[in-house]
Symmetry: C2
Subunit: 338 residues, 2 copies
């Protein structure tokens, strides 16, 4: 049983004794139950205040069968996108009296299922952001994780809402914008193969290419981080593309930095677009043209869904798709003459 430390914290029993009532009555008073005589209620409140009593939340959770906590699993707490999402979830949940337990898989794919399961054991539900987990594994996990809300996935699973941005549409709009500027040789600096949102981009581009036979597209392996964008500068230059669609803003910024070091003018010689519109995208040089994903709102919406599931609402909207918005800034321009 519990490690008996030298002094136990003051519990409901102490208050009960001090006020000369039973545990039950103290509990009722603390929970604002009105079936208790106002005189006694006040005596209990006074005792509680005097003894500095606060209900033990573990005991409460056990009796109530809920923790008022949800888990949020993200691949990388250092990534601005996930940070913004986490903030959205956390603030929205806080408004309803729920707290957030974080689990950072540090991009280790094999940890995600374990972390999610462990989070679920401690919390009333899990918001899972696992861009690279396979649909099959997600299906398997879903029932054991329920209540579960998926972020940045479009997958239909019973009882589990999934929220996502329409990366396919966004990248098409970016490509369309570039082609409108006269570009005919595009390069796509892709994200991880397994990434669901990368697949959406690839599919979107395929569709776009089908409609624009005059345009040429090369797909180069990129990555997700600034460093990976920076590294790919040579391959981009070798490709001969006049415009680059980077997987996300971080990669675009890395590329921008690399191009700058090579003395390549942006957008004079080459145009660059990002994706996400992270807070710093507007402050790069030149400011980054990108497709804005309302990721904080996506996080807030994730909480709304979670709340619906927790309250066992009749009607919970499952699939929700946010539309990215193209934001034109300085990193894109007309195709160079030469």
């Amino acid at each position: 049983m519990a490690k008996r430390s030298t002094t136990r914290r003051t519990g409901i029993a102490d208050v009960a004794k001090h006020a000369g009532v039973s545990h039950a009555t103290v509990s009722r008073v603390m929970n604002g139950n009105f079936t208790v005589d106002p005189v006694i209620a006040q005596r209990v409140r006074d005792s509680a205040a005097e003894l500095k009593y606060y209900p033990n939340s573990v005991g409460r959770s056990l009796a109530l069968g809920k923790t008022d906590t949800i888990g949020v699993v993200v691949p990388d707490l250092g990534n601005p996108t996930f940070q913004a999402m986490l903030r959205g979830v956390s603030r929205a949940a806080a408004k309803d009296g729920y707290r957030v337990l974080i689990a950072d898989s540090s991009e280790v794919l094999s940890e995600e299922a374990i972390l999610a399961a462990e989070a679920r054991r401690r919390c009333d539900g899990v918001v899972l952001c696992a861009p690279r987990m396979s649909d099959a594994e997600l299906q398997d996990l879903a029932s054991s994780l329920h209540p579960l809300v998926l972020i940045n996935r479009t997958i239909e699973i019973e009882n589990t809402p999934s929220l996502s941005a329409d990366y396919g549409q966004g990248i098409q709009e970016l490509a369309s914008y570039l082609v409108g500027l006269g570009h005919r040789r595009l390069a796509f600096l892709s994200g991880p193969e397994q990434s669901a949102s990368n697949r959406l981009r690839v599919d979107g581009l395929a569709k776009f290419m089908a409609e624009h036979p005059e345009v040429e597209l090369q797909t180069l392996a990129g990555g997700v981080s600034f460093a990976e964008g920076h590294e790919s500068v040579d391959r981009i230059l070798a490709s001969g593309a006049t415009a680059v669609l980077a997987f996300n803003d971080l990669v675009a910024m890395g590329l921008l930095s690399g191009l700058h070091e090579h003395g390549v003018a942006v957008p004079g010689e080459i145009s660059v677009t990002g994706f996400d519109d992270i807070p710093f995208a507007r402050y790069t040089t030149p400011p980054l043209t990108t497709a804005a994903v309302p990721i904080t709102e996506l996080g807030e919406a994730a909480w709304e869904r979670m709340r619906s599931v927790l309250q066992e609402d009749e009607q919970v909207s499952l699939g929700t798709i946010f539309s990215p918005q193209v934001v034109v800034r300085g990193s894109t321009g007309p195709v160079p003459r030469s």
Copy 2:
């Protein structure tokens, strides 16, 4: 008592019945207690696997008197500095099997004490980052929050480690560097009055000025955010300073952006320094000269201290101060001739 949902989760009792042993034995097996006959142990494990049993962590917490969770209170989850700190704490704690519950006060000072107290009730300890809370309030709170670790505060409280960066030293080094470049008219774009780390900067600058009578320093009210830096550009230009020490990188970046809009060359006409070295500081135009605060390591160290306190180590180091490192980049240069 607990809301009896239609189907109860499988508990220790189910496993016990299935394996034909008592609760106690199941518990022993699940906790790797070796005083159990290997044959029986295996039978229990098989039953557990078959029934997909996982110990309920709330029940466990109640019996054990600990939650394996710590709370982290930050003023703003949208601020890169606190994000980095949170990541440091979270990853370090995860290595020791602890999880982090986050509480974001959204810069509402009056919420911080409440959030911290509530976090403490749910967790084994609290890491508190409250730059603007008064020393007196901190003192009051400390005993009720213990185990408590303070971040970015230098205050001596019994039993509560506090970690901080030496903002005073850092800003002196920055000022010294600027004076070395020939600057004699400096401006300090200050943070919030109540901010402890701002006070350290102010004191550091005062000391510096005492040693450098030839230098002139103006202190202007600034803020903590990009927007506030951006807004102060007019006042900076009016001040006639040739170099600006911004409260932090965000403010510096806002200022940089504002100066750019006004067509003022940096560092040609004016030099700018930041503070913190957030990830994007190296990618501004020009890249920001700043004092790097190892904030992620500070977060990791915070967990180390917390662990020591939780383990009731004999010797816990209380005050720890990290030294910022001046990082010279492109936003600073020689004083203009005119």
